[in-house]
C-alpha cells in the first residue's frame, strides 16, 4: 500500500468517526435547545 493511499484511508476513517461522534452528542443537544426555545417563546406571546 502506498503512503498516500494509507493517508486517504486514515482520513476517510477519521471523517466517519467525526460524523458519528459529533452526531452522538449533537443530536441530543439540538433536541434540548429546540425544547428550550419552544418553551421560551411563551415569554414573548
Amino acid at each position: 500500500m502506498t503512503e498516500s493511499k494509507h493517508h486517504e484511508d486514515v482520513s476517510a476513517a477519521n471523517t466517519i468517526k467525526l460524523v458519528f461522534a459529533w452526531s452522538f452528542v449533537g443530536i441530543p443537544l439540538i433536541w434540548g435547545v429546540y425544547n428550550t426555545l419552544t418553551q421560551a417563546a411563551l415569554l414573548f406571546k
Binding site: 461522534a21 443537544l29 425544547n35 428550550t36 418553551q39 415569554l43
Partner: protein
C-alpha cells in the same frame, strides 16, 4: 511518588490505562471535544434535578403529599450535597486524575454518576431518604466532580493554539445537559406513572443506565496526545504574553501563590453574581412584572437563561483566545456591574424585553466565567498540573453555590419584611451584586505572573 507508569492497572481493565489512550498517528484531535461532551452533557443533568422535587414529595400520596412523604426542604439537600461533593471530589482527586489519565477518570465518573441514580432508585423503593442522599448526593456528586475536571487537561494539551475554545466546548455541555435532562425526565416520569406510582424510581433507573452508557462512549473515544505532539503548523509563540507562562507550577506550590487565591476570588464572585439570580429567576421575573410574566412564561425565561448560560461558555471562552483571559474577565465584571445596575430600572420602565436582554447577557458571562477559568489557569500555572489546580479552584463554586442564593433570598425577604413592595424587593440585591463584581474587577486587575521560585524544574516536569 507514584508515576504514570506505576498507575497502570493491568488485567481486564488495562484498556483504561493512560498508556492505552495515547493517540496513534493520524488521530483527529476533533474527536476529543465530543468525548468530553459525552461526559459534560450527562453531568449537566444536576441543574435539572429540581424536576424530581415535587414528584418525590408524592411518592406515597401519589396525587398529593401524605404525612409520611418527604418534605421539599428535606429534598433540597440532595442537590446541595451533590454540589458540595462535586467541589470536594474535584479538589481531592485532581492529582490522581493527572496521573491515571482521562479514560480511567471518565470511567470512574460514569460509574459514580450513573451508580448514584441506581442507588437513589433503591432509596426511593425502600423510601429511605438517607440512601438517596448517599446515592445521588455523595456518589453522584463525586461523579460530577471527577467528570467535570477529567477532560480539561486533555483538551488543553490537544489544543495549545485554542485552549479557551476547546475547554469552552466541553464546559458548554455542562450548561446544555439540563436542557436535555429536564424534558427527558418529565417525559420518562409520564411514561412510568400509574395510579399507584409517580414513576420517579423507574426514571432514575433508566437515566442511570443511559448516563453510564453515554459517559462510557466518551471514555472509549478519548485519547491523549503522544509526547511532544503539536498541531500541524503550530509554533509556540517566541515572545509569550506577560500573563502566559511557558513554565509549570506544581499543584501544591500553586496553593502557596497569591495568584491562586486571586483566581479563587474571581471565580467565586463571578459565580455568586450569576447563581443567585439563576435560582430565583422564575419568581423574580413574575414579581418584577406582575400580570405581564405568567408562570409558564417565567419557565420560558428560565429556559432562555439556561440557553445563554450554555452559549456564553463557548462564546466567551473562544473570545478569550483572542483578547486574553484577564481582559475577558474585565468585561465580565465591568459589563456585569452596568447590567445589574440597569435591572431595577427595567422594572420601573416596564420593559420586559430589556429585562430579559440584561439577564441573558449576565448569564452568558456566568457560563463564560466557568469555561474561561481552565485556560486562565493554564496561562498562569502552565499545563502540567492544570487539571489538579482546576479541581482545587472549584471549591470556589461550592462556596458561591451557598453564598449566592443565600444573599438573594435573605435580602429579598428582609426587604419584604420591611414593607418594600415585591416588585422593588430585588433592587438592593442587584446593587449588592454590582458591588461584588466591583471587588471581582479589582482582584482580576491585580493578577500578575507567578514568581519564578514557584516554577517546577525541567527534570521534575518530565518525571
Amino acid at each position: 511518588m507514584t508515576t504514570a507508569a506505576q498507575a497502570d492497572s493491568g488485567g481486564i481493565l488495562h484498556w483504561l490505562d493512560r498508556s492505552h489512550t495515547v493517540a496513534k498517528p493520524g488521530f483527529s484531535r476533533w474527536l476529543v471535544p465530543p468525548a468530553a461532551l459525552c461526559v459534560h452533557l450527562c453531568i449537566g443533568q444536576v441543574y435539572a434535578f429540581s424536576v424530581f422535587n415535587l414528584p418525590m414529595t408524592r411518592l406515597i400520596g401519589i396525587t398529593e403529599s401524605a404525612p409520611d412523604d418527604w418534605k421539599l426542604t428535606e429534598l433540597g439537600w440532595i442537590f446541595s450535597i451533590a454540589i458540595v461533593f462535586l467541589g470536594l471530589s474535584a479538589a481531592f482527586t485532581g492529582t490522581w486524575l493527572d496521573r491515571v489519565g482521562p479514560r480511567k477518570a471518565m470511567f470512574t465518573a460514569a460509574l459514580c454518576f450513573g451508580g448514584g441514580f441506581l442507588i437513589s432508585a433503591l432509596g426511593i423503593h425502600l423510601h429511605q431518604l438517607w440512601i438517596v442522599y448517599l446515592g445521588y448526593g455523595v456518589l453522584g456528586g463525586c461523579g460530577l466532580g471527577l467528570g467535570y475536571i477529567s477532560p480539561v487537561k486533555t483538551l488543553i494539551t490537544w489544543f495549545p493554539d485554542r485552549p479557551g475554545m476547546a475547554t469552552g466546548m466541553a464546559i458548554m455541555g455542562f450548561g446544555g445537559g439540563a436542557m436535555i435532562a429536564s424534558p427527558l425526565s418529565v417525559w420518562l416520569m409520564q411514561q412510568f406513572a400509574t395510579s399507584s406510582h409517580v414513576g420517579v424510581m423507574e426514571t432514575f433507573i433508566v437515566l442511570g443506565l443511559v448516563y453510564i452508557f453515554f459517559m462510557m462512549v466518551g471514555a472509549v473515544i478519548v485519547r491523549v496526545p503522544a509526547k511532544g505532539w503539536a498541531p500541524e503548523g503550530y509554533v509556540a509563540p517566541a515572545q509569550p504574553k506577560k500573563l502566559v507562562t511557558q513554565a509549570h507550577v506544581h499543584v501544591d506550590q500553586a496553593l502557596k501563590t497569591p495568584q491562586f487565591y486571586l483566581l479563587w476570588g474571581v471565580l467565586c464572585l463571578n459565580v455568586t453574581a450569576g447563581i443567585g439570580v439563576l435560582g430565583q429567576a422564575s419568581a423574580m421575573s413574575q414579581e418584577m412584572f406582575p400580570g405581564q410574566i405568567t408562570a409558564a412564561a417565567a419557565a420560558g425565561f428560565v429556559g432562555l437563561l439556561s440557553l445563554f448560560n450554555m452559549l456564553g461558555r463557548f462564546f466567551w471562552a473562544s473570545t478569550s483566545d483572542f483578547i486574553g483571559r484577564r481582559n475577558t474577565y474585565m468585561i465580565f465584571f465591568a459589563l456585569g456591574m452596568i447590567l445589574y445596575a440597569i435591572v431595577p430600572w427595567t422594572g420601573q420602565i416596564d420593559s420586559v424585553v430589556l429585562f430579559v436582554a440584561c439577564y441573558a447577557v449576565i448569564l452568558s458571562m456566568y457560563g463564560g466565567g466557568f469555561a474561561t477559568i481552565p485556560a486562565y489557569l493554564k496561562d498562569i500555572f502552565g499545563t502540567r498540573y492544570v487539571g489538579a489546580i482546576h479541581g482545587r479552584l472549584l471549591t470556589a463554586w461550592s462556596a458561591a453555590g451557598v453564598f449566592g442564593p443565600v444573599l438573594v433570598n435573605y435580602i429579598r425577604q428582609y426587604q419584604i419584611d420591611n414593607g418594600v413592595p415585591k416588585a422593588d424587593a430585588y433592587s438592593v440585591t442587584m446593587y449588592i451584586m454590582a458591588g461584588l463584581l466591583l471587588v471581582g474587577f479589582a482582584l482580576n486587575w491585580l493578577m500578575s505572573p507567578v514568581h519564578e521560585r514557584h516554577h517546577m524544574k525541567p527534570e521534575d516536569v518530565d518525571a
